[in-house]
C-alpha cells in the first residue's frame, strides 16, 4: 500500500479529526492559561467540523451510500459561526477576569464574585 497513490478516504479525515479532537481535549485539560483553554476548545470544534465535512463530502468514498450531503457542510458552517461567537464571549470573560484579578490563571479563578 502506497500512501501517495491511494485515494483519500473517509478514514483519513476521521483520523485527522480524531487527532485534533484529542489534542484539543488534552489542551483544555492541561493549560492553566485561560486563553490556552480557549484554544483547546477551538481545536475540539475543528476536529468535529472535519468529521462533519468529511461525512458530507462526495469525494471520500461515501458517494453511493447515505451521506450527510449538504447538511454536513451546513452544520460545519453553523459550528464555525458559533465558535466565533463563543470565542468573543469567552475572550470578553477572560479580559474581564484579567481586569479584576490581573491574572489569567484558571486555577486561581475560584470565586464567583467578580
Amino acid at each position: 500500500m502506497n500512501l501517495l497513490t491511494q485515494p483519500v478516504g473517509l478514514t483519513h479525515y476521521l483520523i485527522v479529526g480524531a487527532l485534533l479532537f484529542v489534542t484539543g481535549l488534552v489542551c483544555m485539560a492541561t493549560k492553566r492559561n485561560a486563553v490556552g483553554v480557549l484554544m483547546g476548545i477551538e481545536l475540539v470544534l475543528n476536529g468535529a467540523n472535519i468529521n462533519f465535512v468529511a461525512f458530507g463530502s462526495k469525494y471520500l468514498g461515501t458517494a453511493h451510500q447515505c451521506t450527510l450531503g449538504l447538511d454536513g457542510q451546513l452544520i460545519a458552517l453553523i459550528v464555525i459561526v458559533l465558535a466565533a461567537a463563543e470565542a468573543a464571549v469567552a475572550l470578553a470573560i477572560v479580559l474581564s477576569y484579567y481586569n479584576n484579578h490581573i491574572t489569567v490563571d484558571v486555577d486561581k479563578a475560584d470565586e464567583l464574585k467578580g
Binding site: L95, Y98, N99, I102
Partner: protein, 401 residues
Amino acid sequence: MAIEKIGRNPVEQDVYTDEMLLNMGPQHPSTHGVLRLLLRTDGEIVLEATPHIGYLHRCAEKIGEKVTARQFIPYTDRLDYLASMNMNLGWALAVEKLLGLEVSKKTQHLRVIMCELNRIASHLVAACTYGLDLGSFTPFVWAFREREKIVNLFESVCGARLTYSYLTVGGVTADLPNGWLGECEGFLDQFNRSVDELHALLTSNAIFIRRTAGIGVLSPEMAIAYGCTGPVLRGSGVDWDLRRDGDPWYTQMYDGYEFDIIAETNGRYPNYQDYPPIPSVAVLGDCWHRFYVRMLEVMQSIRIIRQAMDRYSSADGEVGGPVKIKEKLAKGQVYLETEAPKGQMGFMVVGNGTAIPWRTRIRSSSFCNLSVTSELCRGCLIGDMPAVVGSLDIVLGEIDR
C-alpha cells in the same frame, strides 16, 4: 486625575494594560535631531513625556569665554543653525551695546533684510518638517525648494549656505553684491504663490486640521509661566513681539517699519481675510494656531523686507564693517534679547576690559518652548507626539548649546 481630564482624546481605557516606558529618540525620525523623549504610555495613550536633552552639548557658552567677541560669531551660527543670521545679530547687538557702538542706518536696514529672510527660511523649515511629522512628505520638498532660493541669496552674499557669520560685531562682513536686491525682489514676487501652495497642502487640508486642531493646547497663562516665546507664545494669543516691545537698542532697527504682530485678538488675526479661515475645531493655543502663526509671520517678513530694501537703497553712507578681531570690551555687563524666528534669543556678555568676554551666557528660546512638552503631551496619543513636538519648532543645537 480622571479620564475626563486627559482631555479631548476620545480614547477610553478598556483593558488593564501595563504601562510601558518608551524611548522616543535620540534616534527617532520625528524628534528633530537628538532629542530623547521618555514616554510613559498606557497603550497608545501617553501618560507622561519627559524630555531628555544634552546630546548635542558643545560647551558653546564656555567657548564664548575663551575667544574674543568677534571670534565667537561662528559659534553662534551653530546655535540655531536654521536661523544663523538671527543668532549672529543677537550676539553682535549685545556686544555692540557693551561697546557702545552704534552702526549706521544702512547697516541696520541690511541686517533687517537678512534677519527677515532667515526668519522666512526658518519658518519654512518649521512648516515643512511639521508636514513631515504628520506624514505628508510633499510640502517638505516644496518648502525646501523655496528655502533653497533664500539660501542661494545668502550664498551670494557671504559664501556660506548654513553657517553664514555674515552679521558681525560692528556691521556686516561685506556689502551686498551687485544685482542682489533685484534677485531678492524676484524671489519675493514669486514667493506668495508658494505660500498659497503650502496653505492648500497643509493649513486648510482636512486631515491636517484634524491632526492639529485642539491638540496640545497651550493656554496663554501657561505659555507665560513657562517662559515660552516667539510663535509658540503668539500662537496662544499673547500679543508680544520683541521687534516692537523689546530693548530700544534692538527695536531701533525696526523703527518706522510697518508690520503686524501675528497674534489672535478677538478671534481674528491681522489681515485675516487674505489667509485660510480658522477652522471651527481649532482652539487658541493648539498646534494648528502655532503653525498658522508661523505661516502668517512669513508674510509679515516679506512686507518688512520690501520696506527694508527700499530704505537700504535710498539710505546714504556706507555699510559698517567688522570691528578689530581683538577689540577690547568695556567693563560691564549687557543682556540683550532679540526676536529670533523660534522665540526670544538672549545673549549675556560680561566684559572686563579685555578682548575676551569674562562671562557669556545664552538664553535659548527653544529650551523654554520645549519645557512645555510634558505639560502638552499628558494624555495625548502617541500619534500626537510628533504633532505637539513639531509645533513647538525646536532646534537642538540651541537647546543643548
